[in-house]
Symmetry: C2
Subunit: 113 residues, 2 copies
DNA sequence: TTCATGATTCTATAAATATAGAAACATTGA
DNA sequence: TCAATGTTTCTATATTTATAGAATCATGAA
């Protein structure tokens, strides 16, 4: 029973996170949230700022949240969104450590042909 | 006429690259290519190793190539694929610089509500 | 309770992506 | 030229994702 919630150590989780970033709209959402800082931004405001509202916004946010990149917290009738920076950094490190050869020192070179 | 070929400075290009990584199959392909080193790997071999062949493999490779993450070069009847590490690193840096607040020093905090 | 606001769910449709077999193309060697 | 190998294109289908209006739910205030 090795049930890590969102460790990013498996390809599936990394792929999910990358897929969440693989949309101009969601990337814009994420960047807006970054600029909002740790206080976060209510969904309505966020949506106005990036030009996406209603059910479409909900849809995109759902993916960012379930990828662990954004977290939400209700405050009154609003829901504040904020970036999970640790998760973003994890993803960046995954890219460097798992997808770059000439970096860590042991570039495992095998069977060129 | 500001026609950068694949600069990753625009959201569109970053989103395209992330979308290319947003698939378990393509992530596996990329990682196999990383392990193959700069010599690259012929498509057939690559496909056998990751368990994807034929037109499906072509389809996935097309996305990685057009995102600039993989480059191809014919050698005889084979086509060798290799990772563009610089592009992967660009993407990692995009993540850190554009999508992380508490890092660069100037975490632009604006209008919490 | 009633109303207004903020957000989601429901439903439908459109568009993009994934999978896969078969045919075609490209290259090399006999 | 013919055959074999490696890869792509063509075609079709299935699945996923995107967009969007309307109804619904949740919260707070009058």
């Amino acid at each position: 029973m090795k049930q890590e919630p969102l460790s990013l150590s498996h390809l599936t989780l990394a792929a999910t996170a990358f897929a969440a970033l693989g949309s101009e709209a969601r990337l814009a959402i994420l960047r807006r949230l970054v600029r909002a800082g740790p206080a976060g931004l209510p969904i309505g405001q966020l949506g106005e700022d990036v030009g996406v509202t209603g059910s479409v916004l909900t849809h995109h946010l759902k993916q960012l949240v379930s990828a662990g990149l954004v977290s939400q917290q209700r405050e009154g009738r609003r829901i504040l969104c904020s970036v999970d920076h640790a998760r973003v950094q994890d993803l960046s490190e995954f890219l460097i450590h798992e997808c770059c050869a000439d970096m860590g020192g042991h570039s495992a070179q095998d069977t060129p042909q």
